[in-house]
């Protein structure tokens, strides 16, 4: 049952065939390219097979039938046939529990690489009846959640999808499944809403560039005095400017320490590509920059970003922070590859 496409496990040969012919699989399973807007799971897209319990139920029916014939029990026949009817009705009801649900994707808040993107799906019942116990599962990550979808109104599903790399993370394919009401059948449907989540570079903590960096980079000098007030020492981080290294302390303790200054909060600083340690790769540089952005935002500074070909004037606040991080996330971003294009 762990395999999201467990049907294939049941049909190894078909599975092997479908593996070789993805287009056939797409046609059979109703895989579609990412769909915009509200996706309604029409009956054509709802698949149904007996679950394991269904087979056991069938075996029970067979036993009952044989018993009824053997002992010529009229009510035994009635019972057997009522249960058979129940199985039939259960099948239709299971498909109905899923069919014509309207799926739409909500906004996914940006995350940093290494975290999990929280994709929101809204399952709108659009029916006179409620739809209990519907499982939504993200196929690539296995992230899943069971919700009861009301008849009118929507249920929210949050799928946590690990974001490995910066850039746009598409949601990829999700599966909706239900076994309600009797658990004898398993109906499922695939849906791939056109949703994506912005993934910022994984921030790497390091000391902010020193004041002098601003001068060098030609930034506006902050009018606030006392910028250079010495505040203390902290451990050296690779991105620290050599000017801030407390060389005396290093000589004394053999430990790389960096001087820290108060008043940086009030400063206006440029987070400049060129301030990064030379030799670091692109991703590393972006990570360091992201760390700076967070530190600057936390410190309350006004900061701007300067990348080759990109410049964002200084500012502060959530919107500004988001814009800067987005620029970092999308800077020469690798083409977004859908998480699960092939089944």
């Amino acid at each position: 049952m762990e395999d999201p496409l467990e049907v294939r496990r049941a049909h190894h040969m078909i599975g092997a065939l479908l593996e070789r012919r993805p287009r056939l699989a797409n046609w059979i399973y109703g895989f579609t390219p990412p769909e915009r807007g509200v996706v309604v799971l029409v009956h054509r897209r709802v698949y149904i097979v007996p679950a394991r319990l269904g087979w056991m139920f069938g075996a029970t029916l067979a036993l009952l039938l044989v018993g009824s014939i053997n002992y010529a029990i009229a009510l035994g026949f009635a019972l057997t046939f009522l249960l058979a009817g129940l199985g039939l009705a259960g099948m239709v009801h299971t498909a109905r529990n899923l069919a014509r649900i309207a799926v739409s994707a909500g906004r996914a808040e940006p995350v940093f690489a290494g975290e999990a993107a929280q994709f929101r799906l809204y399952l709108d019942g659009r029916a006179a009846h409620d739809r209990p116990a519907i499982l939504a599962r993200h196929i690539a990550s296995g992230s899943q959640m069971v919700v009861d979808v009301p008849g009118s109104g929507a249920a929210e599903v949050v799928l946590a999808v690990p974001a490995a790399r910066r850039g746009w993370l598409p949601l990829g394919r999700a599966m909706l499944e239900t076994r309600f009401p009797l658990g004898l059948f398993r109906a499922w449907s695939y849906v791939e809403p056109d949703a994506r989540c912005l993934v910022y570079p994984k921030p790497e903590r390091s000391a902010l560039p020193a004041q002098s960096a601003e001068a060098e980079s030609g930034g506006l000098r902050s009018p606030t005095p006392g910028n250079d007030d010495f505040a203390g020492l902290r451990n050296y981080q690779p991105a620290d400017s050599p000017r801030h290294v407390a060389w005396k302390a290093v000589a004394r303790t053999d430990e790389m320490l960096t001087k820290q200054f108060t008043g940086e909060a009030a400063a206006e600083l440029w987070l400049d590509w060129r301030l990064l340690p030379p030799g670091a790769g692109l991703e590393r540089r972006l990570s360091l920059l992201a760390g700076w952005v967070l530190a600057a935002e936390r410190g309350g500074a006004r900061y701007g970003l300067r990348l080759p070909g990109v410049e964002i004037p200084p500012g502060r606040g959530d919107t500004h922070c988001g814009a800067v991080l987005q620029a970092l996330a999308l800077y020469h971003a690798p083409a977004s590859s859908p998480a699960s294009r092939a089944p």
Binding site: R52, M56, N70, Y71, L75, G85, L88, A95, R100, L135
Partner: protein, 656 residues
Amino acid sequence: MTTVAAHPLAPEARSVGVRDLAWLIGSLLLVAAPHALRAPWWLTLLTLCLFAWRFRYSLNRAPLPARWLVIGVAALAMLGVWMEYRTLFGRGPGIILLVLFAGLKLLETRTHRDAAVAAFLGYFLIITNFLYTQSIPTAALMGAALFALTATLIGFSAPQRSLRANLRTTGLLLAHAAPAALVLFLLFPRVQGPLWGLPQDAYTGMTGLSESMSPGNLSSLAQSDAIAFRAEFEGGPPPHAQRYWRGPVLWDFDGRTWTVMPVLLKTFAPPQGGERYRYDILLEPHNRPWLFALESAASLPDRSRMTRDGQLLALAPVRARLRYEASSIVDPDADAQEDARLLLRGRRLPAGTNPRATALAAEWRAASASDSEVLARAIGFLREGRYTYTLEPPLLGVHTVDDFLFGTKEGFCEHFSSAFVFLMRAAGLPARVVTGYQGGELNSVDRIITVRQSDAHAWAEVFLAGRGWVRVDPTAAAVPGRVEMGLARAVPQTEGLSLMMREPLEWLRGARDRWEALAHRWNVWVLGYNPERQRDLMSLVGMRDADWRSLTATLFTVLGLMTLLLLAWSLGRLVRPDPVQRAWRAFCRKLAARGVERSLHEGPRDYASRAARALPASRRAILRIGVQYIRLRYGARASRPGMARLRRMVRELRLT
């Protein structure tokens, strides 16, 4: 496919909650309840303990008992069943074991999968009840159990859902299952069972006449209120005194017991003359081959034969309720032919028994000029003899006939017929004992005659030259009330007749008549539905000689159509948007036809004002529709008149 997480809908991954378990135990109790009447008390107690034990574990959220403990209890229980029944097989012990296993299964039920298996076992236990009785009350109880089990299964699928919603779903599912069940019941090709040998005890508890008659066995049968068969006449039935339902004919007498002779068949030649009656008989199973018909049978029911002594036989013992058509002629023309060897057999008596009766018969013989005169003397002797008719006759000695005729003078019909046939044979007349039923009660509601075991009777037949076998009812001669009015008025009220047979409870009998009319219809239409009735039904709808192939084809066609209907229903309910939305879409279509198409992002207000600008002629109407739609769609509540107004406005919108 990186992470492998447990499937949250897979039943093996979901643990059973207290509510699930309570429902499961409740419905299993409902299923097993009737078995408590038949099981030894300690087994009932043990089963209840098992249920309670499991439920306590659930309440305490404790881990379930170790496997060895469960296996130990199972072994002990099986030992107990063996001690009780001396076997583990057969119907009784087998069913008891199944009930026990249901309790034991619960003890190792952790997940929904186990619980569902227990529920399936519950479904199976329902049918075990039907092995004992298929009456309406049992069916009603088992219907309730079926509902509860189904609700339990639904509860497993949606443990968080409200009980009410789950019960509603159960009702809906069963309502949808019912038509399919009906079609399957009517059309599923029926085969006559059994498919293999049944356990030995499968047919215990069926009562009825037997191959022999000795003093006391008919009178004990007569105290049973159980139904032997029912007869439904096409016209009116013959009067009570003429309703002799012929059963086994007894020839051989050993001084105490009368027994049947080996079966001798004859080619059936219907009797002539008399008054003809046509009727259907619904015979309760009695585990013997004989069929009952009013004397004298004028036709052979399907798949039956007739013996030399006029007894109808089925091809096999009647082990299921059997319905057959019969016709009879009361008072047919005489048939004076009989095989000489049979006449010889009809005179045979055990030597040296009942000397007084033998002497009396010889006296009659000597004093009479003809056989008829002997007969008349014998009848007169019984009539004058001040005999008492009783269900509790005193015990008789070695010379049973002498003791009864001259000693105790108290007896039941077996005493009268036995003594009478003895006297006839002793006088040299061929005679035989006929057992069967006499009378039967006419139901005032459905005009069906119900014949009970208490109507069991024995009479005599005497062979007279030129007239053939003549029926003589010595009981009627001695106690006329028995045959005229039935047993209840012939026997003193203090004797052990069943409650219903006593006189003053007439109102109770009226209620019973209605109930039995219902039960009869149930027996005929539900329980009596068999391959023959299926054929009848099929020929009624124009399919003559329906074999299993055409039945299967019809069945699948109808079932397929019904599934499609159900599917259409499920689609219809879903596709239909609410009336406000429908009206709005109609409005959009109207505008789109005039070239003002709504784009996806456009809200109703923007769209309406844009349309109003584009179609200034209908500006006011369009804007009003827009406002009304917004009020209904997004307002606090939608009123019915408001919806009607919107629909009217959209309908009346004329775009020029």
